[in-house]
Structure formats: structure tokens, C-alpha cells
Amino acid sequence: MNHFFSFTRLFALLAKEMTQMMRDRITFGMMIGIPLVQLALFGFAINTDPKQLPSALVTTSQDQFTRAIVSALEVTGYYRFDYVGIPESQADELMQEGRVSFVVTIPSDFSKRVLRGDEPQILIEADASDPAASSGAVSTLATVAKQAFERELGKNQNEASSVDIVVHRRYNPEGISQYNIVPGLLGVILQLVMVMMTAMALTREVERGTMENLLAMPATPFEIMLGKILPYLAVGAVQVIIILVAAKLVFHVPFVGSIWLLIAGILIFISSLVLIGYFISTVAGSQMQAMQMSFFFFLPSLMLSGFMFPFKGMPHWAQMIGEIFPLTHFLRIVRGVMLKGADLEAMRTPMLALIGFTILLIIFSLARFRKTLD
């Protein structure tokens, strides 16, 4: 029998771990339930690009240009004119009270200036106290307005393209936030479950005193580590399938890249997560501690990885911190591959970063394990 590795022993550990996992109904249910609940919450409830925002229109004239612009704005879906033709002072009050998010003011000489060929102005006031809520709506304005009265003036679209106002929203022209969130959720859910479950599974052995017994039997640290990690990799695989299927069938997220490249990225990512969990378990003294430490790791990575807030929008130092989380790199891979069709060449940096994390974590974990023997 081999002294350092034997498949029989690994099989013994795997069979044991799987049986325990299946028997713990609540935990097992959580592993499957978490992706579903999170998908439902983030996918359906949270929308960073809200539509149908209440608006007010301040205008004195009801000519063709005004009507054209109002209907063009409504067609974008962002604006819903609840108040039309009200005086300026009332519009101010409405915005202050938060009853409207936008006030569109069309001056009385608007059509005259259009016909005269002057540059006419429209004032659009946005309630920017929630920038995320208004940014999408604001960004569509220029094009919409321009196109609206170009149509009225009888110019065709080709000429319009020579005008310098260009709003170009790539990869997600309709601004559907699920496209961004659902692939991101893949990373977040995997991280939540993998890190915590692995950390707790090993700490449980220590807490219940079974670790001592396990170590007294001829199992090597490497086998014990693999025996703990592999079952959770399998759980991760099941979660990946659930999320990807939901992304396709429920949220209709486009998948333009290579599935194999994504799977490769996922595998490396899960390995690094499980190893983080494993590392936590070698430090934590109890399951409670393991859980707390998992959350301590989980929250900043959620905030700084670019899942919650745009990565490029963070200050430089925050981006630097963000770089130390595998999630950050994984998000780049999953969004790059799914939405932009990125190839391996384009994804080389985040891939290498993930591989680097994994190797580092393996070294750490093995080193920590030897210490826990004594």
C-alpha cells in the first residue's frame, strides 16, 4: 500500500463525506436552495436600470415638436409623464417631494426656434439623489430628442449620424441589468456556498473530535484535504448547472462565448474557493468561527469585486483591494465569455490570476495542515 496516496483511502473519505452531506438535509437543501433564492431575488427583484419613472412636463405650447419629443421620450420606456402642462413652480414641488424623477421643460418659443434653424433647448431635470436610477434615462435623452425632431423636420437617419452626440451602450444595448447580474451571481453564489461549506465541514471534524480519530488512522493530510474538497467541487458543479440553465431559460441571458472556456474558468475558481474554505477551517476553532470568518471574507469581496458596484467606478485603492479577491477575476471571465464572447487570449490575465490564487492557496493549506497535527 502506498504511504502517501491511496485511492482506497481517498474513496473511503469521499464516500463518508458524501453520505454525511446527503444526510444533513438542511445543509443539503441550502446548497440547492441558495442558488434558486438568490437568482430569484437578484434576477427578478433588483434592477439597477429602472424604467417607467414618473416625470412631469412643463410646457405652454402643444405644437408638433413638443408632442414628438414627449412621445419619443415615452417610447424609451424610462419616462412616464404623469403631469403634463403644469407650471414650473408645481414641477419643482413635485420633484422635491419625490413624486417625479424627471421634469422636462420645453420653452414656449421652442418650435419657433426649431423652424428658424436656431439651436433649441430642452431642459431636463433629473432627480440624481439615486444616480443609478436616473443614469440610464438621462443617457438616452440626447439621441431620443434629436431623432424626434429630425424626424419631424423630415431629415433622414443617415444625416443625423453626422451629429456629434453619440450614446453607445455596448453589449447590453437595452440596458437589461439581468445580463450583468445573472452571470455575476454565478460567481457570488459559488463563493457563498463553497467557502462556507468547506470551512464548516472540516471544522466540524475538529469540533466533534473526529479529526483526532481520522488522523490516528492511516490517512495522509493530502488525502484528507482531497476527501474534503472533491465532494464540494461536485456540489459546486450542480450549482453551476442550475444557474446556467436558469440564465438561459428564465432570464434569456445571451451566451456568445465558448462554454469550455467558461467551464475551465469555473473549475479554477471553485478550486480556489474550496481552498479558501479549507484554509479558514485550519484557522477557525469552531464551526461558528468558521462561519464568521467566511462572512468576513465574503462581504468585502462582494462589495469590491465589481458585482455590486461598477469596478471601474471605484477609487484606485479600492480597485487594488478588489484585485485580491478571486471573485473579481472570475466576474471578468464570466461576463467576458458569456456577454462579450471573449476568447482565451482576451481572458488570459484573469485566468492566470485565478490559477495563481489556487496554487498559492494549495501551498498555504498544506502548510497549515501539517501544523494542525501538532
Binding site: M1, H3, S6, T8, R9, F11, A12, L13, A15, K16, T19, Q20, R23, D24, R208, G209, T210, M211, E212, N213, L215, A216, M217, P218, A219, T220, L373, D374
Partner: protein, 312 residues
């Protein structure tokens, strides 16, 4: 060949020396008792012997394997039963046995497990979760799992704590059977009656091995003398004797009093005086193992206690 032959073992945790130059040898096929107060380093010593811990100092062999270099080989031939039940409570009895059998590479696994279940008499309950077993059954299951791979050395860490007398008796019968078949057993215990069931005993206190030998040798070596006072006034006599010279221990046993001392002359003077004063019977008694151990315990200093005068 000796089953255990270690010299000057030292194990420290931080700045605490838990095992302090312990030299120990156990013959093959012998049942060796390991005694000592709580926190005396018994568990740590046992963990060193089964390859779980590496000693900081000292050398020696277990089953002929070097303590430092061959820990994995030692693990394969040693059975270690931990103090606390340390099999999986969320696995069934059978699953636990399968797990152990596979880890030791026992083949054919199924027949090993079946035989063990049969011998335990647990075949009908094999699908029951191990966590639902009573204390006595848990202990039997743990022992069965530990000897499934037929180890040459069995290390038992307080195996009978919290087990009823009948189960305890059966447990010891089994230990003697195993030893008769050639297995070496080292067992730590707090119970004196269990110590007397061992071929040899080792007494460890605060990391230091204080004495070892057969029960008779240990008792004789301690050089203690005992008188038994019995009668109605023994309670008052106890109070009087408490601060008499030559009296080291007074232990009431029902209506009689067990008085122990090292200096026979002084002790005898004291008990004679008490016997006359309170009109109670006085006769020489047999020093027990318990008396010896209490004597050792009061005599040794606690190295775990903080040295208050130095730290302040």
C-alpha cells in the same frame, strides 16, 4: 522486542511542558495501565505513541518503528481509541465500520464489516445512526472499530468513562482476551479497580512519570503504612488526627477511618493515642493503590499552575 520503548519524551505546547522526560516501556502482550490526575499529560503521551504528535525531545520506538521517522507505519499497526467518542454520529454503525475498513485498506471490506457487526451483536441495528447509541454501545462500537485492522498495539484513552459497571466488566474481559491473543494494550484510567486489572501500571503526574511496576511493586515502593480505626467516635478522631505529626492521609470509609502515613513510628503513636482517647478499635491495614496515588498527587507540584510570585 518491546512494544513500547521510549526514553526522555518531552512535549511542549507553547511554554508549557506537558510531557516532561517520560521514559516508558511496555512488553509485548502486556496490559499496561496509565494513571494520573486530570491534565497530567496522559492523553498527550498516548498521542505521541500513536504517531499523532511529534515529541520535542526524546527518542524511542513503538512496535519497533521510530517515533520520529515512521509515524505513518506506526499509525497502521496501532489502534487508538480516543477519550471522547470520535466516530461519525451522523453515519450509521455500518457506514462507520465501512469507513474505517476502507481507510485501513482491509480487503474484502464487506466481510470485515460483517464479522465485526456479528461479533458486536449489532447486525440487526447496523442501519442505526451511531449517535443514537447509548454510552456503553458507543464504547463497544469504538473498540470494535479500533481493533478491526488487528493492531499489534491498542491505546485506550480513558475508555470506560461514563460506562455502567456491567459494561465495564465486559469491556475489561475483552481487553484481557485481546492481550491473551498477543495484543499489547496500554490503557489510561482513573479507576483504581481498573488499574488493578493491569499487568503493570505507570503513574504520571504533571508531565512526570513518578512510578511504574506491578500493583504490588508500586504499593510496596511507596513505603506507606496504614491503620484502620473503627468505632462510633471515628469522626471526632478524624478531626483530632488531622493535624497530628506522621498522619498524611485520613479517609473515612463508612464507620471506619483509613489513616495513612509514611513514618510508621509517628503514625502509630498518633493512631494509638486517638484510639485510646475516643475508645475506638485500631488495627494495621492494607495500603491500597488509591492511598499511594493520593500520596503522589499531594506530593507533586502542579507545573500547569501559574507561578504567581514570579509573574507579578
Amino acid at each position: 522486542m518491546k512494544a513500547i520503548d521510549v526514553r526522555n519524551l518531552v512535549k511542549r505546547f507553547g511554554d508549557k511542558t506537558v510531557v516532561d522526560h517520560v521514559t516508558l516501556s511496555v512488553e509485548e502482550g502486556e496490559i499496561s495501565g496509565f494513571l494520573g490526575p486530570n491534565g497530567s499529560g496522559k492523553t498527550t503521551t498516548i498521542r505521541v505513541m500513536c504517531g499523532l504528535l511529534t515529541p520535542d525531545e526524546g527518542e524511542g520506538t513503538v512496535l519497533g518503528y521510530d517515533l520520529h521517522a515512521d509515524q505513518l507505519k506506526i499509525k497502521r499497526q496501532v489502534g487508538y481509541m480516543t477519550q471522547k467518542f470520535s466516530f461519525y454520529t451522523d453515519l450509521t454503525i455500518e457506514e462507520n465500520l465501512f469507513f474505517v475498513a476502507r481507510l485501513y485498506g482491509l480487503s474484502p471490506t464487506r466481510s470485515y464489516v460483517r464479522d465485526t457487526l456479528d461479533k458486536l451483536g449489532l447486525t440487526s441495528r447496523r442501519h442505526q445512526l451511531a449517535g443514537l447509541l447509548s454510552g456503553g454501545w458507543k464504547q463497544r462500537l469504538a473498540l470494535a472499530a479500533c481493533i478491526m485492522h488487528k493492531p499489534k498495539l491498542l491505546l485506550l484513552d480513558e475508555p470506560t468513562a461514563g460506562v455502567d459497571p456491567k459494561a465495564r466488566r465486559e469491556f475489561w474481559d475483552e481487553i484481557h482476551d485481546l492481550a491473551a491473543d498477543g495484543m499489547t494494550v496500554m490503557v489510561s484510567t482513573h479507576y483504581m479497580d481498573e488499574a488493578e486489572r493491569c499487568h503493570r501500571i505507570n503513574y504520571i503526574a504533571y508531565g512526570k512519570l513518578l512510578t511504574s511496576g506491578t500493583v504490588e511493586e508500586v504499593v510496596a515502593e511507596a513505603g506507606l503504612h496504614t491503620f484502620i480505626l473503627s468505632g462510633k467516635g471515628s469522626q471526632s478522631a478524624a478531626r483530632m488526627l488531622a493535624n497530628q505529626q506522621g498522619v498524611d492521609q485520613i479517609a473515612p470509609f463508612g464507620n471506619s477511618l483509613h489513616v495513612v502515613g509514611k513514618n510508621k513510628t509517628l503514625l502509630e503513636q498518633a493512631v494509638r493515642k486517638a484510639s485510646q482517647e475516643f475508645d475506638i478499635r485500631c488495627e494495621p491495614g492494607q495500603t491500597t493503590l488509591e492511598d499511594v496515588f493520593i500520596q503522589y498527587m499531594t506530593g507533586s507540584t502542579d507545573n500547569m499552575a501559574e507561578p504567581a510570585s514570579e509573574s507579578k
